[in-house]
Amino acid sequence: MDNPTLQHEMKELRNQFPALNQTVYGRPLVYLDNAATTQKPQRVIDSISEYYSKWNANIHRGAHYLANASTEKFEATRSALAEMLHANFREEIIFTQGSTDSVNMLSTILENEVNEGDEIWVTEMEHHANFVPWQVLAEKKKAVFRYVPMTASGEWDLDYAKNEITERAKIVAFNYVSNALGTINPIQELIALARNAGAYVVIDGAQAVAHFDVNVQALNCDFFLFSAHKMYGPTGLGVLWGKKELLEKLPPYRYGGEMIQKVSVTGTTFNVLPFKYESGTPNIEAVIAFNESISFCHEVGRENMHAHEYFLLKTATERLKEIDGAFVYADLPNKVGVLSFNVEGIHSADIGTLLDQQGVAVRTGHHCTQPLWEKLGTTGSVRASFACYNTVEDVELFIAALNKSVNMLR
């Protein structure tokens, strides 16, 4: 697991991330809030700047040089994403505003598929973004909102799922990786159960795409969604992949320009995929710059990223357990680099405040997963999450700062 060559290579990556090279409150920044959003490599920043310096034009409709150039760059990202996800068709890639937007779009366009008495399933581990839209849809359609429970160790109760997910299930939506705990979930098993039940399968891959490769065909899901900003890309951009036959059949989400074929006073016909789901002027610079993030992940290699982050996770977990009263949630083998913990008798917000003063950026609180913490009998945790550019030195600074914080708070 300890691989000095890999650690060295990963450390070199830091030079590509200007935001990491700064001090906060006079201390070197230790950025361990990567599950919230990753920093961006210079090539992504340059791409955004270049877009506005050279290529700015509205896409798909202009009949001039710049419009054609920006359209070409925009569509190149769609192709790169289709390749990254192993999609059958590039028009299955829909650009959204983020994961939250993707789920809201899905819960809207699937509305007519749900009837009174049908079941909509999530898990107890979901981010609110993949929980609330389904809960609201169920209420609206008088459907039954159900969830796969989570065990105290931070895993799905698959036995429950096996017994309870039946043909009444119409939609089964779940996360690939838990944002609050870092658990990599056995999604193949839940996909199989949902498939047997004849339900639509929706996967929230927001916490997965920066750590391992995804093959949507092999997964055999119906929809897969994530945000660009969690994989070294710009904010305000998300991706929804959906099976072509389904996206063709389902109704549009937002109405307006771009998504129409013909509009007249007597009626409107809608455009083909993917434009049917991309009304209005999109976040063009983010889409174009995202191609640089995709190349970055590809060039570094997600296996390398995951191996390195896992090494940091294990190192940090061991060091953390040496602190009196510290306990780790979901201390499991199958995890991404997310360390979620508490220290007995100390509020997570207090730890977060004092870590911040020492230049260490973490997330504290419920991480938008309140049902999960209710199950674990608390209101939240401190979450340190690692990315490929973090180092063993970061872990050491974090542990030293944590020790100091705990001593002050006791």
């Binding site: 409150y25 004092l354 003063q357 609180g365």
Partner: protein, 142 residues
């Protein structure tokens, strides 16, 4: 009076050169504050809070001043709550509504009160002002 209390806090904090000592002092204030009983820390006294919770109890006393008691489940927030309470406590609704609250910025804890809603302090100050408005109306109608 409120202004004087703020000045005293600012002077007190000017004494600390290191961030650590500043926070140690806040933690100490949090530990010293009487706070509320577990029975009182219920949702009807909860002002807000995403990460840490803040509870606030206010009453208008016969002498025309406001009595404030508060608490938080996080110790640093509790210390900051103690500071806010000490500034507003035993003042008249009129004085509370007229006050210009600046001490948080001046002691270098601006992030704790301004943009972030996470620790509930901003909501607490807002709630104190709401109470003061109501108490003032009560005084006028009596």
């Amino acid at each position: 009076m409120i202004e004087q209390k703020q000045q005293e806090i600012i002077e007190e904090f000017a004494f600390f050169e290191e961030w650590m000592h500043k926070y140690e002092h806040i933690i100490e204030l949090g530990k010293e504050m009487k706070g509320l009983t577990d029975n009182e820390k219920k949702d009807d006294l909860l002002v807000a809070g995403c990460q840490s919770k803040v509870w606030l109890k206010a009453s208008l006393q016969e002498n025309g001043t406001v009595n404030l008691e508060a608490d938080s489940d996080a110790i640093i927030t509790r210390g900051l709550v103690a500071l806010v309470v000490s500034v507003f406590n035993q003042e008249t609704p009129q004085d509370i509504l007229n006050a210009n609250i600046h001490f948080m910025n001046d002691i270098g804890l601006v992030s704790n009160l301004s943009q972030t809603r996470s620790n509930g302090l901003a909501a607490m100050v807002k709630q104190i002002l709401l109470y003061a408005t109501v108490f003032q109306a009560q005084q006028k109608s009596n």
